[in-house]
Amino acid sequence: MSAARIRHLQKAYGAHLVFDGLDLDVARGERVAILGASGCGKSTLLRCIAGLERPDAGTIATSGEIGVVFQEPRLFPWLDVERNVAFPARNAGERARVEGVLGLVGLAHAAKRLPKQLSGGMAQRAALARALVRDPHLLLLDEPFGALDALRRIELRAAVREILEFTKASAILVTHDVEDALVLADRVIVLAGAPAEVVFTGTVGEDATRVAILGALGVTEHGGQARRSQARL
């Protein structure tokens, strides 16, 4: 059984066709990174899976609970960390998980703090804990490190990797950072075009190398332009 199965997804904003028949499968326990240029539709895809956008056509089937982490922490400012994390809990069993997930993200000491008293990295950890409290089968991460500085980014990325390995949850990570994809994902997908299509798919550790992904994104790291100019001098 798959964690997410998308068939013939169609979505348009006015005249702008974002997807016209996109297919995507995420296996149970698999971690997929979706890369693409800004505005290519990768966030829209995630929002459709999360149920925050309604597709115009096609089917999206997911199994079990979904947890979403957005680019911003989006904590409720009137609730302390513990209550923010407990927000999605629907029963005693889920409420009992709050302490555990707070420990998992390394925020056990900050349970009683208000969001305004948290650093950016801590707030995003709290958001991650909140997404984990229902024990989701599928975690949707929409540029979850996008608002963090480089060091916090590395730190939180490592934490998310550990958590995903621990919880065995499937994950779809939307990012524009190749490094995020290589550290966190089993499989990398690159979206491009309008309507967006999968232009690259590869397995991390095999064909999804840094160079291959950058190539699919239409980026070269060689600085060839600069070298050529230098040669002329």
Partner: protein, 247 residues
């Protein structure tokens, strides 16, 4: 200590000016006269009576305004359709300088309690209503989306996200509304009253008792300050989580 220096200096100046006869007592009573008058009013029970009458009028008018503003504000803030139907009318009424209602209300409702409470309610209503509608409109869509991503029902979204998110604005509106309520109480009691703090003002004027007028002004200052402090305390208790202290 610095904050007390200016008022203390003013009282000293007041005392010197009246005791040296720079101003006559029928123009401006001395501090001593004011204290004596305050004492007398307190001893006869009139002080407590007038204060409690005024406080009751403010409380009733403010309570009605708060209730109406919450109901109408929630309807207008929650639905564009209701906004189109109701808001232009309410904004039109709001555009009238509120004291212009005074004669009409006195004619229509007489000079009894109903007229005074209505006037206070009109004064208090608009700041609360306007703040609440702005608060509802200003709720962070992204927080609502978090609720939606967890599959919250519409009712749960309102109770768990929209109401707490709107509360700071509502409380700011209520604080301004309460200040307005006192302002309108003065207007109502100046025009037609046989009791209340405002009555002390008119009574003092008619009997050329500046000490009585000054006592009334002092009482208004104390009541206004106390209700403002009370609202600020409530804000601190209920919405201390806001990142900025509301002005």
């Amino acid at each position: 200590m610095v904050r007390f220096a200016v008022p203390a200096g003013l009282v000293a100046l007041w005392w010197i000016a009246t005791s040296l006869g720079w101003v006559k007592s029928y123009q401006f009573a001395s501090p001593r006269d004011v204290v004596v008058e305050l004492q007398q009013l307190a001893l006869t029970g009139m002080l407590w009576h007038d204060v409690s009458v005024s406080v009751a009028r403010v409380a009733a008018g403010f309570g009605i305004a708060l209730l109406l503003a919450i109901v109408l504000g929630a309807l207008v803030g929650g639905s564009r359709g209701v906004e189109r139907a109701l808001d232009p009318t309410l904004q039109g009424i709001r555009a009238v300088p509120s004291l212009a209602w005074v004669p009409l209300i006195l004619m229509g409702l007489g000079i009894g309690e109903t007229a005074k409470i209505t006037l206070v309610a009109i004064g208090a209503f608009f700041p609360i209503y306007v703040a609440l509608v702005a608060g509802i409109r200003g709720v962070d869509r992204k927080l609502v989306e978090v609720g939606a991503s967890f599959g919250l029902s519409r009712t749960a979204l309102i109770v768990r996200v929209l109401i707490p998110a709107t509360l700071p604005q509502l409380l700011v509106g209520a604080r301004i509304g309460l200040t307005q309520a006192w302002l309108f109480l003065v207007a109502a009691e100046l025009l037609a009253a046989t009791s209340g703090i405002g009555f002390l003002l008119t009574d003092g004027e008619q009997t050329t008792r500046t000490d009585e007028i000054l006592v009334a002004i002092l009482l208004f200052a104390v009541c206004g300050k106390l209700s403002e402090s009370g609202m600020r305390w409530l804000e601190k208790r209920l919405v201390g989580w806001t990142d900025t202290v509301p002005a």
